[in-house]
Symmetry: C3
Subunit: 282 residues, 3 copies
């Protein structure tokens, strides 16, 4: 595994990058609501390839430039295009495989979560090594059940491991919004912190870890993944099940109705998705 | 898997049924202390078969008609009869196999727990998909170690997964009573709620889930079970170990003594089982 | 498995023993900071062999005679000697194998933790069946990453199971100090208790468990271990990785520097190890 000593940071469309020593800060900036679409997926592919090709950055911190949304969810309208973007990494047009690669990237990844993070967005932060949430501003949700779908990119795998059967059933079947404190109690995040303490806390932790020898960090990451990261086959199984269900009549109808009601736009539907799903038939 | 559109709800002896839309509410009513004996086991078998034969009910809520007991524990005096009742489902006279079937039933199951739930009763709620407890009135206990026994119907499997090694050792070896708050901290239940909020909370959650498409719910349930439900062999192993130990002299003696002290009746022993086990030799 | 009815308690160098009924209390007393060196390792080997050879003691409680340190960490200076001591148990000169044997010892083990417990010390308490911590005085840390090392004696296995991926990444990569309350929230311990309640709580729990029939206790322990104890191969893999890394230049340099700064002595470095690692390069 030969990696160069200095590789220039690539250009990104939906990520704003700042580096400080061995820490790379990536702010997600994809207006209006940080959808995970072709631009962000393409950037993630480039970032993973970059981090695997350099020894310069030991820690990556993901945050959001949008105070209300960390990542809203995947861009349902542009699904074919983001699948093409995802395929660039592994030849496989799958968000599940992409996120599993993120879990194995040769740097420590930390999600600093303020704002809403739902569906594939929640799966993105679950694929990071650690998650810290704003007590006041973070909102978590796996909204798939509200459409008749299953999470397709790892939420079943990560959450079942992190929060156990009972709470995973509740989170996935209920498809409701969880605030930072409840997300901490359930294990969805490492900790919830007061909003004004979140960034300094993560900054210090990132710099602390980055001050330790790289080889030990990667060895620890490899061992934890060996024990806890679900197999490629498990990720693929979830993804194929999602793909099968999303082509059926009722999920397709619900997606159409929700798009008419403001899904994918800066709207009440996106701000209060848990409630919008509950009122679907009312 | 052909299932009829309308199948009449069967008659039950120890369950009172109410239905509302796609939610079936089953209240456990087996005086004086809701023992899990032949009547309740037979009803559970019928209910599981019914739920697997109809698409009408997406969610089942289990509660208790008795304010002090959800399910006291299994009926040790009528063990041969309830084993016959259990065998009706699978040909196997095993409470463990019965509860594993409950975990795989084709509906979402929620336990709304007020009152005491110990031994096989605790294993029953652990076999449900989700558990919510009254902060003031719920009491949890795996009392088997106090008799020289092991839990035989899944508690080892479910609790080790939900609360980890250390807390499972404590709960199973200590055989003491846990209130709702501690049960939440340990992961025995999803959440503990103030007693007067428990029913409205579960009612809303059940109706929320029941408003989502059935196929997605069942797909999610299947995936979570695929990852987290222990194997038939593991359940059988626990059950056989219980069966081996219960025939030995010291457990048999302790059961006799506890029966003389009020076990299986509405008594101080049943109300404060954790304390009664501690005072066994005093 | 023939075991004698009465076997005399062996003589120890670093453990002070008191017995009361079927409970054996072992106080760790290895001044100045309770390092896990040849004396303590040799005592643990003897204690494990003793407990496997007698039916007299059902429960062992480990505490510390030192108010500031439960077990500081392993004695890096005397590593060759403690490996010889460890080999006495299994022929394998490995702290990992030793601790895995502790997890399988034929008695229930409880760690009553006041003071600091880091590195191999933390792995020792993780190998016990249960852990209770002083809210005011307990401090937990896996300090290996600060040296460019990985935990070599089970921390990866136990913590990944107890606290899940995200919190294990944080604890192992951050190598920082955790107090009793945070250790409880993360699942590192069963519970944190006010310092003056810790000993009475553990005393009562130990006596409670010891009042139950031995065969049931051991059957429960065997079942929980069957489900949750990592394999010999996993323990060995961690241990070999530690052995490989500790011989490299940067970890060796960091160990030398930390020894010059007071590591292994009663010093600010040992009292505030998390901070000392952070200031390594400052």
């Amino acid at each position: 595994l030969k990696v160069g000593k200095h590789v220039p940071v690539p250009k990104f469309q939906a990520l704003t990058i700042r580096t400080e020593g061995a820490v790379l800060f990536a702010s997600i900036d994809n207006p209006p609501i940080n959808l995970m679409g072709p631009a962000l997926v393409s950037d993630l592919v480039s970032l993973i390839q970059f981090l695997n090709s350099t020894e310069e950055y030991r820690v990556v911190v993901f945050s959001s430039a949008n105070p209300d949304f960390f990542i809203a969810h995947f861009d349902i309208v542009k699904a074919p295009e983001y699948r093409v973007a995802a395929a660039r990494l592994t030849g496989e047009a799958s968000a599940a495989t992409l996120l599993r690669h993120l879990s194995e990237v040769k740097a420590v990844t930390i999600a600093q979560i303020s704002g809403r993070v739902r569906g594939l967005g929640s799966e993105f932060v679950l694929a990071c090594d650690m998650r810290f949430a704003s007590r006041e501003r973070a909102v978590f949700g796996q909204i798939e059940a509200g459409f008749g779908l299953v999470p397709g990119a790892g939420a079943v795998q990560y959450l079942a491991h992190l929060m156990g059967r009972g709470r995973t059933f509740e989170a996935l079947l209920g498809a409701n919004d969880y605030d930072g404190d409840l997300a901490e109690r359930y294990g969805w995040v490492n900790r919830a912190l007061p909003d004004d303490e979140l960034e300094p806390f993560v900054f210090e932790l990132a710099n602390r870890i980055a001050s330790f020898p790289r080889e030990g960090l990667l060895a620890i990451k490899e061992r934890i993944n060996a024990i806890t990261l679900a197999s490629d086959a498990d990720f693929r199984c979830d993804y194929e099940l999602f793909g099968k269900l999303v082509r059926q009549a009722e999920p397709a109808r619900r997606i159409r109705v929700m798009l008419e009601r403001g899904m994918q736009q800066l709207s009440d539907t996106e701000l209060n998705f848990g409630q919008a799903l509950r009122e679907f038939d009312k």
